[in-house]
Symmetry: D2
Subunit: 109 residues, 4 copies
């Protein structure tokens, strides 16, 4: 079994065991994801990146993956597929010769 | 190769090809993740979950995975490991007999 | 004195008394604002709007205003002015005859 | 009339003119606020604070105030009151002698 599928199954089972599926509509899952992303950001607040507590990063990043995987499951999305597809579109939006060494957004390149 | 490792390599290569590693400190990566999570939420704004545009979900969720994977790479974190570890801790924070059917936070259970 | 000016002075004084200005660059203030906005959202997570705890809304919304006012102060922005200016631009982006009763974004109207 | 009351009336009128009140439940308003806060953060992404485009800050900060004021209006909150109340609570959480020159959270002081 692929590792993403293994994670998906473990997370879905956790949710099922607690009968939480009733709360897990796409809108609230996206909200939960955003809240976890924000908690991850809090680890860096008022600090340089170098001073971050890596254990906190680990914990909050795990929460981000947890909800991201639940959203993919909710909409029957193949995570590997959608990420590779997006990468391909980004290759067109950010061609190497224009984007090299630049932090500009594609519409400003 | 595992799915997650394959994604990691593709994303890291994309970044390397554009010499973007110079911008990718942990703090800005976390910020970028949060911005993408927010764009995912925008797909649900002023709507019921049922009315969401799934193509938009796909696209923004892919961006979320992209930055989440870059953060894991930056801190040398094993995604499968940190998610499984967190799930274990969540099992203690949310024991089935207390958490079943409840949307309360662990400190309110 | 206007009430916004009164708030600004109280908040700036609070910050000065603690010598916190050294942490308050625009980037971290914006991050802090976003984290507080996220905590406000957490009050609504897994719930209908009607079931929210209003005391929690009060508290988190106050934090949002706190950082928003600090950002305005940092960039010497006149809050009343920038909000009224934006409202004027929004009147052009969302003319009543096109936007009436619609939740669409201006570029989809 | 106070500045905040003037802003509230202008914003509520803008909303009324477009019959947008139907979309403006507390949960979606909080979500909209969070999305605007995130757009403000995007102005700082991959940059030092010093390199920010102040016009972008102005615009996004105005949007943040817009939704924050709508939320206060929705819950009949007196903005000046809730901010001053929170400042008082923060004075207890962050006493000058403990918090001076420290970026730590109150529970770590």
């Amino acid at each position: 079994m692929s590792d993403l599928e293994e994670l998906r199954q473990a997370i879905v089972q956790f949710t099922k065991d607690r009968d939480w599926d009733q709360f897990h509509n796409g809108k609230d899952l996206a909200l939960a994801l955003s809240i976890e992303a924000s908690e991850l950001n809090e680890a860096f607040l008022w600090k340089n990146a170098a001073d971050v507590n890596v254990d906190k990063v680990k914990e909050e990043l795990a929460d981000v993956f947890n909800y991201a995987i639940l959203i993919a499951d909710k909409y029957d999305l193949d995570i590997k597929q959608i990420v590779m597809d997006k990468l391909k579109r980004n290759e067109e939006k950010y061609p190497v010769e224009k984007a090299y060494g630049s932090a500009k957004k594609y519409n400003e390149l």
